[in-house]
């Protein structure tokens, strides 16, 4: 299985080539097009959560916390090679991170798009709900071996960190677990942090790879959202 990302960085499309009877899991709603031999199964995710009600509950929790979609679709190329193409909701890039055995990748909830079965996406809650409106942060963890497809709002910068970096909470895409994070105020005091418009930021320390996106989804949402007609509820 391979992902090819086209039209980078702003209007990226990921084409996933599948060998006969190979499978890829992806967020519901991400599919753009596919060959005719693809069999699609929709399921509340994910198998690692256990069965029935437990899985449903976990899925709802993720949706509430991470802005992530509740369902996963499983795409299988029946008997022949085939492909499925995926796209995110917003303008921006997609990137593939190859998860190595023994490595853990923490992915910001709404950045995850797709992965094969050889990669386990664990959804145990890690993150926080911020004091400032619109600031929530929720990480999924990817372990195992294989490619993980992620999306960004805007372009993606790949940084190999050895030391320390301060990143706005709305601009983080993912980082490997060799990097530790703490949530700190952007400025010295609470009031100045609020007035600065930066609120809380992530202080990332250690060694590893991190991905940063050039736009902040909640900033864009707030800008356009207030220009839209009001909703019913």
């Amino acid at each position: 299985m391979e992902f090819h990302v086209l039209y980078r960085p702003s209007h990226s499309l990921a084409v996933c080539n599948l060998n006969p009877n190979e499978t890829v899991r992806a967020e519901a709603g991400a599919m753009v097009s596919m060959t005719r031999n693809i069999n699609v199964v929709a399921a509340a995710k994910n198998p690692a959560d256990g069965g029935g009600l437990k899985r449903l509950f976990k899925g709802l929790k993720r949706m509430a916390l991470g802005g992530e979609s509740f369902f996963t679709n499983t795409y299988t190329a029946m008997n022949q090679p085939g492909h499925v193409s995926f796209a995110p909701s917003l303008t921006g890039d997609m990137i593939v991170h190859q998860v190595q055995p023994g490595e853990q990748l923490l992915i910001q909830g709404s950045s995850y798009v797709a992965a094969p079965d050889s990669v386990t996406i664990d959804t145990k809650f890690q993150g926080f709900k911020g004091l400032f409106s619109g600031e929530t942060l929720f990480f999924l963890s990817a372990t195992g071996q294989g490619p993980v497809l992620m999306n960004a709002f805007g372009a993606i910068e790949t940084i190999d960190l050895d030391g320390e970096m301060v990143v706005d909470t709305g601009h983080i895409v993912a980082f490997t677990a060799g990097i530790k994070y703490s949530v700190v105020k952007a400025s010295k005091g609470w009031i100045s942090s609020y007035l600065s418009g930066e609120g809380l930021v992530l202080r990332l320390q250690g060694r590893g790879r991190m991905y940063v996106q050039s736009r902040n989804p909640s900033e864009f949402g707030a800008t356009v959202g207030r220009m839209l007609p009001p909703r019913e509820n």
Binding site: V167, S192, V212, S214, E219, T223, V224, M227, L228, R231
Partner: protein
């Protein structure tokens, strides 16, 4: 100060290398990331050396800006004893352009297009028309003068158009223009050859800004009002 604009035209950000104690002023909320050791000072959007009177004026201008220009009242100064790297980005997709002010140039920019500046760049709020009458399509500008760098962001790509004579731009597509030898006035889109009520009501073009004289205008290829009209039928 070294600076680079990366990922344009649609996902542009501004990366600057600050020398020890060098300062850049940025619109509140624009910070993407910075190396440790940089500090943020937040202040009202008035000149650095402004007295109390100027500060009061700036305070009311800032409030006006907040409501009319959709822009924040505060700016952040980034600096550090060892310097460092800072990355800034605007809220929407789009491009960033750099302009150098030499003390003589007068640059008008769309109020929400300000991203950052250095040195003694002074910004003053200017109104181009009666905004409330035309459903948010009026023109709120910032007049930039002084000496230093200015970084301006757009929604869409930026195209530079040289003007020698007259030229009209939809108010939602103006990024910036040179104010020294260009005059501007607002009018409805269809009224060049006499006023047409039908064009005024139904052309979908709303207000345009007519420039006369010589100078450059920078236009953006997208417009948030047009995005809103386009997405509205899909809303629930």
């Amino acid at each position: 100060m070294q600076h680079q604009i990366e990922f344009g035209p649609s996902s542009a950000w501004l990366k600057v290398q600050l020398a020890p104690n060098e300062t850049i002023q940025a619109e509140a909320g624009a910070m993407v990331r910075h190396t440790s050791g940089l500090q943020i000072d937040t202040r009202l959007n008035a000149g650095r050396k402004a007295g109390l009177g100027a500060k009061l004026k700036a305070f009311f201008a800032a409030i006006a800006r907040k409501f009319l220009g959709g822009e924040t009242m505060f700016v952040n100064d980034f600096h550090g004893p060892q310097g460092g790297e800072l990355v800034l980005a605007p809220g929407t997709s789009g491009q960033i352009m750099h302009q150098l002010l030499d003390g003589q140039r007068k640059l008008f920019i769309q109020a929400s297009a300000y991203l950052a500046s250095t040195g003694d760049v002074d910004t003053k709020l200017r109104f181009g028309g009666l905004k409330s009458m035309f459903g948010g399509e009026g023109l709120v500008l910032q007049e930039c003068t002084g000496q230093g760098d200015v970084w301006i962001n757009s929604y869409g790509g930026i195209t530079e158009v040289p003007i020698n004579g007259s030229f009209v731009v939809d108010t939602g597509h103006i990024v910036a223009f040179e104010g020294n030898n260009l005059n501007f006035k607002l009018r409805s889109a269809g009224s060049s050859g006499g006023f047409s009520l039908k064009s005024f009501l139904f052309s979908g073009e709303g207000l345009v800004c007519e420039f006369t004289g010589t100078g450059r205008v920078w236009i953006q290829s997208r417009n948030l009002n047009a995005l809103v009209s386009w997405i509205s039928p899909f809303l629930r």
